[in-house]
Symmetry: C2
């Protein structure tokens, strides 16, 4: 098996490529690494089906230098390579020529590389990915700093024309000429994982498959999640649920924020019965309305918590908000944490959690120091620095093992993840709120096996609300996070007015727009569900940058505001107040989702998108199954499907049919439906052991 090879003499590995994944090692690697915490076995079957690949460089040319200061790795870079990755980067996309420090932080800071989800891995458009297997704070110089060499005098000015502004002065002139330099202070040795292609997408697939394959959310995870105001009580929650159902606004998950607990900063994990006198009844009432309940929490254990005593000797030496920091690097600690949640909370009807505050404090603000210092120590021996890079992964892992034990999938919200988290059904979110950043994080998330939800909170205008909603609908998870809003933001986007019940004059019309956009989401669920299955099964990220699919098209190298959804859809969200934007469409023909207008690709268009539309383009040759909208998702209630065949040729599409909520699909308990459009006629073929149930194909519509 692959895992066995990791500590073998790596010189051997230079010569052989095991399923396109090589490990190079030197010195004494750390005991605590991302690889140590990979939660799943590699998906060998899918790895074996990927084509063989040669790397564009000789791995023997990777130089690892170990000094007293740490390890420095130098990896060849081609002159025209484009680099991506490093986790869910917020304000950068194409990393070539940049210095990137992917470190867990609760917000970006300048353009350092800080992120909720640092992954020490980059992907090249030349068809490979490289992961530095470390939890230490590491800096990547992505060709930004060439080494000194014999310099031709011709390189130099000699005829000095001094710059007359700092911008002119500091324009980078030397970029794109150096190798990748990776600086890992403190390391006494290092392992390097190389995931081969031949293409970028396959390199990403290998990484995801090595980590256990991507996520398949429960079907209900693909619906709408609405988080209510933090101080709501049981009655207010139920009233809000009734509003959704009465107004026929689709919703699948209701989230409760800190107020459900007796203490929340730090956490007691105990229901506040003053506000929620009958929590089990609440959960049952909501489930009856087909609403799954998700509870907010963080990992820091308040002295009031029943978990305090059991974890007191199993925590770090620095508290957070006076609460314990459990040593999640120790499986027994995870088990204790999980067992309590299972018995006390989950068994009472709770479907999922929002795991907050696991993304350090804000390293950029001297007075925001609530999280544990990097110098913290833990009983397991992991350092505070390493813990920060893996804290979300390990925190989530407590719950993941419960899901596996109960054979029940879920779809969490989480504020930190790291490397090898592809299999974790948890979606990142953030307190930051720039819409452009929120969009950029969608294509960025796809490089490194993570998912991102550009949640909607307040807005500055109806237009902003609608544009943000469109983005949320076209993402891995559609979340409205109204933790400080009494009314849904479509009734009043302004926080103060919302909480004063001063609703918009156009509230009804705006509600109708949002309903329409949510309905689009529900229509897309069968397509999305299959795209996620491709993620789980083959490692293909359901949301990914255009460059992943078009690595040779230089026009997409810096496109960070469009992305692919599944095999055939291209999303191009709008921001600001404009009703148009520029959209680059790669080679081939494309169709507007709303108007079915056809565009020839390899060009940039100015595209209009109305409020009641989605800025989506469909590749010619696509068979797109769209469902009739439903108010909630239930695998037992069949989707009524209309199949749209875009373009003149034949086309196929897949649909996944399973129970929608267990891991049985991993044992082959699913059907794969192949929809075919051939010579103007549609047909479907079902393969698999299950009874038909999830889909009814109603109509076939050709679009030319």
């Amino acid at each position: 098996m692959l895992l066995v090879c990791l500590f073998i003499n790596t010189h051997l590995l230079y010569a052989q490529s095991l399923l396109g994944i090589q490990v190079i090692s030197k010195g004494t690697p750390d005991a605590f690494t991302p690889q140590r915490f990979v939660p799943e076995q590699p998906v060998m079957a899918a790895l074996q089906q990927l084509p063989a690949a040669t790397l564009p460089f000789n791995p023997a040319d990777i130089n690892i230098r170990i000094t007293e200061r740490g390890c420095v790795v130098e990896i060849p870079l081609g002159a025209d390579e484009q680099l991506y990755g490093f986790g869910m980067q917020i304000n950068s996309f194409n990393q070539r020529g940049l210095r990137v420090r992917p470190v867990t932080n609760d917000s970006p800071l300048g353009n350092v590389g800080y992120t909720h989800a640092p992954v020490p891995m980059y992907v090249s458009n030349k068809g490979y990915a490289i992961l530095i297997n470390t939890l230490r704070y590491t800096t990547f110089y992505c060709g930004s700093n060439p080494r000194r060499r014999a310099i031709a005098a011709a390189d130099s000015a000699g005829n000095n024309t001094p710059a007359l502004s700092t911008d002119a002065l500091y324009m980078s002139k030397d970029q794109d000429k150096g190798n990748m330099i990776v600086d890992i202070p403190g390391a006494r040795g290092i392992e390097i994982y190389i995931f081969a292609g031949p293409d970028m997408k396959q390199a990403i697939q290998r990484y995801n498959l090595y980590a256990g394959g991507g996520v398949l959310p429960p079907l209900w995870g693909l619906g709408i999640k609405y988080r209510v105001k933090a101080d709501f009580n049981q009655q207010q929650v139920l009233k809000m649920a009734a509003y959704f159902r009465d107004h026929k606004i689709p919703c699948d998950v209701f989230g409760l924020e800190p107020g459900w607990q007796t203490a929340s900063y730090s956490c007691s994990y105990v229901w506040n019965t003053k506000k929620f006198p009958q929590p089990e009844q609440l959960a049952a009432d909501l489930r009856q309305q087909h609403l799954h309940v998700n509870l907010w929490e963080h990992a820091f254990v308040n002295p009031l918590s029943p978990l305090y005593k059991p974890l007191e000797q199993r925590s770090g030496d620095f508290p957070v908000w006076k609460g314990l920091v459990p040593d999640f690097a120790d499986s027994l600690t995870r088990n204790i944490f999980a067992a309590y949640h299972d018995t006390a909370i989950i068994s009472k009807g709770i479907s999922g959690f929002k795991l907050d505050e696991c993304d350090n404090s804000d390293l950029g603000s001297a007075d925001r120091t609530w999280s544990f210092p990097e110098a913290s120590t833990f009983p397991s021996g992991i350092t505070g620095e390493q813990m920060h890079q893996v804290f979300g992964n390990l925190y989530f892992r407590s719950f993941y093992q419960l899901m596996q034990q109960h054979d029940q999938r879920s779809y969490f919200d989480i504020r930190q993840l790291g490397a090898f988290a592809s299999a974790y059904p948890a979606v990142l979110y953030s307190d930051i709120y720039e819409h452009d950043d929120y969009i950029r994080m969608i294509p960025n998330s796809g490089f490194c096996g993570i998912l991102w939800s550009p949640e909607v909170r307040e807005s500055g205008s109806v237009t902003e609300l609608v544009r943000r909603t469109q983005t949320a609908v076209m993402s891995a998870q559609t979340v409205f996070n109204s933790w400080y809003l009494k009314n849904p933001p479509w009734l009043q986007y302004n926080t103060a007015r919302n909480n004063a019940d001063s609703l918009l004059p156009e509230a009804t019309q705006t509600e109708q727009t949002i309903r329409q956009l949510f309905n689009f989401r529900m229509q897309l669920v069968p397509y999305l569900y299959h795209a996620f299955f491709q993620y789980a099964h083959n490692g293909i990220p359901p949301f990914r940058a255009l460059v992943v699919d078009y690595p040779q098209d230089a026009n997409v190298y810096n496109v960070d505001n469009e992305y692919m959804i599944g095999e055939s859809l291209l999303a191009a969200p709008l921001t600001g107040t404009d009703s148009v934007r520029a959209v680059y469409l790669p080679a081939g023909d494309w169709y507007d989702f709303n108007t079915h207008r056809k565009y020839s690709g390899a060009q940039t268009y100015t595209i209009h998108c109305g409020f009641n539309q989605l800025p989506i383009f469909i590749k010619s040759g696509t068979l797109l199954p769209l469902a009739d909208p439903v108010p909630y998702l239930d695998a037992a209630q069949p989707f009524n499907i209309t199949c749209y065949a875009f373009g003149p040729g034949n086309a196929t599409a897949g649909l996944l049919e399973d129970d929608g909520e267990t891991f049985a699909y991993k044992q082959g308990k699913y059907n794969l439906i192949t929809l075919s459009w051939k010579n103007g006629h549609g047909s479907m073929q079902r393969r698999g052991p299950l009874k038909a149930g999830m889909y009814k194909i109603r109509k076939w519509v050709p679009v030319l």
Copy 2:
């Protein structure tokens, strides 16, 4: 001698306090530390005169933990201690409760602690300073993160009222309760210097005296420095010089920017004779007009430079702007660098340099990577990280040794300094430009033996120009940096219009205001010169925070926009467009510099300050010697002094008399003049070996 003690078993040192300076050590300290590069011997005589002091904590309670990750130092903190320092901090002042990472960076980044001048030292208002003797990037948790302890349940909420905004959520609640935690990743051992008081000021004095005492600039260094546009040629420089003299605007130094060299990014250190056909003649012409010449450069050696070959094997492995990074940690490298400058440049009539770009690139911008990576290696063995923390110190040291050899003082501009730089006659400057920050950096600089010049460049209005000029006049060095301005900014503050020769309608009037403010500076020079002598001789910083003089006054703990100048002046610069500001005056009576109006202290006043005034307050009991303004400074031309006696009592003041330009004062070749105001009569007494020359006392004026 003190230096001998450093590597002695430090347990001994617990028991004995050598001149109030203790060193605690554990493990194997780094070979490269700030202490290794202290340029001067301690000023033993002055150290011996400081009073004995006991620390407010037991040094035996300092805990040093060495783990595989590095060193963690924990130092007791009193509940109500106020902490300051960490070098020239830009956007923080009172550091208590903050996390501070004093790392060399060319601009601030959030509130991380990045600075042009990182000093790993803090000063407590309880009367001591602690320096961590490291060049590693170090994080100080200034009581921000208390360790975990048995937590009373009462500490916790139990009655949860959830926050409803992120601000409310993340308000620091736990601050001010922990010890000082110092995180030094990578270190295998550490030395800690403790400078005792008994008061804050004396702790700072001990630090400065240990490092060789403060700076005494040449007399001309206290005048006005004007830097001309980077693309000026020889004629344009001379024309500008004539403007100053014709218009009777005081000036002592002219600075040339990059255009004087044949190559500047990186540097050739060779005159561009196309623009400057006769550089020696230019220097002579300017000197004849009593203008010293200062040349811009940085340390990165262009292949065109005569220094390239000699330094090629003496440099780091990463270039900067294709230029060598000399290994200044090696004294031979410094000697080569210095010798070239001496022969080729200084000997041709150049008085000083502006040492630019030694403050790393911008760690906050992924695409600003021009400087050498932290992973760089150097022949001496110093790491890139350590080099960044000491690069300015070592760069300047090349020149300092020349000054000493030639027995010629100078006053440089520099963009980076670090610990133990108190004796270096070099003043920090910056590309950042927030006026509030510029003011805050003045009191901050005084905690750690550094000087700061809040230079004036362009402005947004005449008011801004005047307020900035007032601040510059009340600082360690008055610099107008017109490197991108064709005309002086007082003729046109706007860059584009300035360079288009479109001067202000009120140019003449504004010029008159600036002339008046410059004249104030010239009037203050005798007072300032003596304040600097106190710095050199006793280690008392000439510019310092109010808390240094009033450590018991809680009202000044957070005052970062007022500061002391010398013994008796309090400066309170104005910013923005207001003509008034709030000024807190500590206990005692104070007098307005302009109106002589009297204020009772321990109160806050709203103060008006006109354009032709200085926002300065004079402590009652002060004898203030003011000179008649002169167009330039020359120790051979006596100052005509009027002595103002503020307040009803007797008063004294000091004046330093020396040659104004050599280090002879260090061998006692100076006079100290004591001015006395006693019972309504003034008198002067001169002690010292020199002939009288610098001062003529003209008048005595009582102010009541």
